[in-house]
Symmetry: C2
Subunit: 318 residues, 2 copies
């Protein structure tokens, strides 16, 4: 397996130019004083469709040839990847099918349809979504784009940390959320190239530490779907591409509890005036937990997204 490189991240950045937002890097004097480090927050919650996922999806779809564009794209997801693919397909004028469970939140179904994609429902208890997706792809001549384990997806995600370090200069530490590893592996490529001395960490929900287990075991460990409020990190295993980069370029993997995520979420709302989804709080929660190791140093935090149902968000804040 040929792993992608930072050159592929550079090429992805050129494709995203004028399409993805160059999201702001925010500072917080309160955070710096409270936890004794210098934090730089890369705010992908302000990215198009509300999460970094747009970067990888748009990059992957931009590389389609004429035949692929005509056939369009298919993906299975009930989360941010669905909206990222739907929006990217609309911008690139190609058909998109998103395969979603029948019990997916109505708001997510509506948002995906709102971006112009066709939504195909399946029954989580009786149907195999991967088989269904493969069948549809073949029948309709569509190209399947997975949510994380794809070179074009992960190098697209890597453009966020490229922008971050270009803006801040070298960092001592970088914390990134970890689900399937698309964002973490892409971020590691950028950090290794732009700030070779920077330590790169993945942060997972404690209930779903397959990444940590895999990192320690040196091979991909599979787990049951974990119970956590970080719905974007409920993955069961890393992928071949993402793990290949993570085991080579990442320094360590930490875990945090749901309570720690809520603490970070409340801080973001109260002091930084940002809506951050539970998964998006992983990186900062991990940095807070590791504060002794980062004291007085320059720390990059990737806030991955802000897509959370308002009533759920209100309940978590209250």
């Amino acid at each position: 397996m040929q792993l992608p490189t930072y050159d592929d991240v550079i090429a992805a950045a050129a494709r995203l130019e004028g399409h993805a937002h160059r999201t702001p890097v925010l500072r917080s004097t309160t955070a710096d004083e409270q936890w004794g480090a210098r934090f730089f927050f890369k705010c992908e919650n302000f990215q198009r469709m509300g999460a970094f996922k747009f970067r990888g999806a748009f990059n992957a779809l931009s590389k389609f040839d004429a035949t692929q564009r005509k056939g369009g794209v298919i993906a299975f997801s009930s989360g941010n990847h669905a909206q990222a693919i739907a929006l990217s397909a609309r911008l690139l004028s190609m058909p998109a099918v998103i395969v979603m469970p029948k019990d997916a939140p109505a708001a997510k179904v509506a948002a995906t349809k709102g971006y112009g994609a066709e939504v195909v429902m399946y029954d989580r208890f009786t149907e195999d979504r991967e088989a269904l997706t493969r069948r549809l792809a073949q029948e309709r001549g569509m190209t399947m784009i997975p949510p994380y384990d794809h070179p074009d997806v992960l190098t697209g995600q890597g453009t966020a940390v490229k922008e971050l370090i270009e803006e801040t200069g070298p960092l001592d530490h970088l914390f990134v959320c970890l689900g399937g590893g698309g964002l973490l592996s892409g971020s590691a490529l950028s950090a290794r190239a732009l700030a070779p001395g920077c330590k790169v960490y993945g942060v997972e929900p404690e209930a779903g530490n397959d990444g940590q287990q895999s990192f320690q075991a040196g091979k991909i460990v599979h787990i049951e779907t974990p119970k956590t409020i970080a719905d974007g990190a409920q993955t069961q295993h890393l992928g071949g591409y993402t793990f290949g980069i993570i085991k080579r370029d990442v320094n360590d993997i930490f875990t945090v509890t749901d309570d720690q995520l809520v603490e970070a979420m409340r801080f973001f709302a109260e002091r930084m005036k940002m809506v951050v989804e539970p998964t998006g709080c992983l990186a900062f929660a991990g940095a807070i937990a590791a504060r002794e190791a980062i004291a007085g140093q320059r720390v990059g935090i990737v806030i991955s997204g802000g897509n959370v149902d308002l009533s759920r968000y209100a309940a978590l804040l209250a």
Copy 2:
């Protein structure tokens, strides 16, 4: 009365350099599509202490002479002005006294004390806060800085729109929240200088339309403290400086209901991932209401702040 000019805004910007955040200007494709205009959101909710008020307070305190610095600053406020004065005084190493009602929210008292200010409580029902403040100022040799009707305060506030238009280029319309008029008058100075064709509007809560009444009558109208969720716009009247500029440089003043503020607040949270306090929603709510007049044009929106108690915010979102 000599009104300040855009030159004073330029001087204020120089004083704020390196102290105030240059807050981001965010775009929202969803907002543009939903309301048919091109919106540029100047996000002062990301300003230090969470609101534009830092600009005016820091500018005013920066101009103190040696005697004034030694004596320190005194202000009466239970809102963002209190925190702005407290933080600015700390940064400039001078004493600060904030006069607050005994029934001010505990969180605001704590935040003000957290910035190092001394808080003096008074009874809203039996004591005259202005007389108390004047007496304390005289006893302690402190300089009183009012929340809006002061040349150094309003020209400090004007630096936000200076930054906005420098970044976006000319705008067709600019919407700004209106309480006592510090932000609106300063914004009007910047807009007139940098985008002469830009129409400038103030937006007030419907329940507290003293500014609209004053604008129409050509003189300052006083009202009872209005009942509205926009607690930063519960002023009873404009000031001599602010009204002098507003009647000359502002094109019109609109009002919106509390329900319209909540609609804008939910949009900011759900689609732009930002926490905006009710007062900070005035400008965008006004622009939405005026959407026919701004169709297809370039519209600046000043988001004034994001300081809202989390439990109250959660209740408004839910």
